[in-house]
Symmetry: C2
DNA sequence: CGACACATTGACCAGACTCAAAGCTAGTGG
DNA sequence: CCACTAGCTTTGAGTCTGGTCAATGTGTCG
């Protein structure tokens, strides 16, 4: 988790897409010609807000972001967490009004790509369109899995499940290994992501530590018993569709 | 709700896509050339199962379907309900292994379209690809909204919210009107969709009837007080992205 | 060395669950 | 055409997971 040098934005995108399928030279070059605007933001800072009609998509180069929605009486539901290589608002390319917000979790480096260029790219290169489409479909699969967790799993299982999911996602882009990964979110964030309260999250974490399943200190997670954690969380990684590990 | 004659499969697809954007003659003809296999199924019948690698997508011509996943100890989470015009497993075009199941709810008429023809269609016509992509993105938005409900809304709000959502979706394809629509699902289905138990659903429904918000009898829902139901359920239809009403 | 955000803990509470037993009702078959 | 049945709905009584409220630690950063 020592932060590797942040790659050039389009290089990161090429790498991400090539982890799924091979790109032709032409496709690779078309991606590399995309104009990007790089922006560095602090943590806890909105990128796009519920109701906005954005004109750019946002590629994460470094740091964490999350999608969330605010409800009445200060209630908040976090919908997803995103890491380097993700384009969390790719949907805005085809759905013009945001129905939720996107914010940084940590300090982050973002690349903004104009919709018009992405639209041109996908019109010219159906293969790239398919890959980006596929990306949004995997996102939808993760939404479904979260729904299953919130709807039908215990607090303990939900938290364990999230640990497994984030560890594998981070590992796939080389940001985790050796059962150790960054986990830069607060207990309130956990609660809002998993449909719990922060008080209850605290108690479950205490329990998990007691069972020597995990260590969680200064925003670093160590999974002390991976197989056991997967088992008690009923975690099955199929839904992440991580065909291969990109390094 | 009197069942109109079931239109030809490709006509239904053209109509659906044209409710979002205009198709060129060429695009329309390409869709109409799609080969389809029509199949009539009873209710409560699996169409595709968790783990399958389907080679067709399924367009619903008539009836209801749902996506669901089974967990240990007989737990089930229903992920979505689908009605005429939907292609609930469109994702299988780009994600080869099913991470959940798809089943009919009622007796249903389905049109199966081979992946290879859809892939060819989208490669040839980026505009159609964009429209289908958009469809899957709206699905994802509905998943997010369900997540919000299960995570942060009370049982009462969740049920009210689902009524509002299904009424508008049905109305958009001409299957509902006058605050009245079919609702062919059991209280157990409600429970499994909303992260509740059927006993509790039953009690909440009783409460809703008591407040004269709805009538629900023999699989027909009548919304007696639409504005009030929307208000108490905190329902905001933005996420459905129903740009216009198709008749 | 504050100050502030975050984590932890205790005491109490409630919305939703479990288990179990009756009622309904729409089909089915005789 | 009616009795039967399977599946669904309704209700009651008791329980529990997870929520609420509030106070007290703890760590980090200017």
């Amino acid at each position: 988790m020592p932060s590797a040098p942040i790659p050039h934005a389009t290089t990161m995108l090429v790498r991400k897409l090539e982890s799924i399928a091979t790109l032709s030279d032409e496709e690779r070059q078309a991606i590399e010609r995309l104009p990007v605007r790089i922006n560095r933001l602090d943590g806890r800072h909105d990128i796009v807000r519920d109701g906005d009609k954005p004109s750019h998509c946002c590629l994460i180069l470094d740091g964490w972001a999350c999608r969330y929605k605010l409800l009445s009486q200060g209630k908040r539901q976090i919908l997803s967490f995103h890491i380097a290589g993700d384009i969390p608002d790719l949907q805005s390319l085809h759905i013009h009004t945001m129905d939720h917000s996107l914010a940084t979790v940590t300090k982050a480096t973002l690349a903004f790509i104009p919709h018009e260029n992405l639209r041109e790219l996908t019109a010219q290169h159906p293969g790239i369109a398919a890959l980006l489409w596929r990306n949004t479909l995997i996102d939808a699969g993760i939404f479904r899995e979260w729904m299953i967790g919130i709807g039908r799993r215990s607090a303990f299982e939900r938290i364990g499940h999230l640990f497994c999911e984030m560890y594998l996602k981070l590992q796939a882009v080389g940001l985790a290994g050796d059962y150790r990964c960054p986990m830069p979110i607060t207990q309130t964030d956990f609660a809002d992501a998993l449909g719990l309260t922060s008080v209850h999250v605290n108690r479950v974490l205490k329990d998990m530590r007691g069972q020597t399943l995990i260590t969680l200190r200064s925003h670093t997670l160590v999974i002390e018993a991976w197989d056991e954690l997967m088992r008690v969380s009923e975690f099955d990684p199929t839904y992440l569709h991580l065909e291969q590990q990109a390094a």
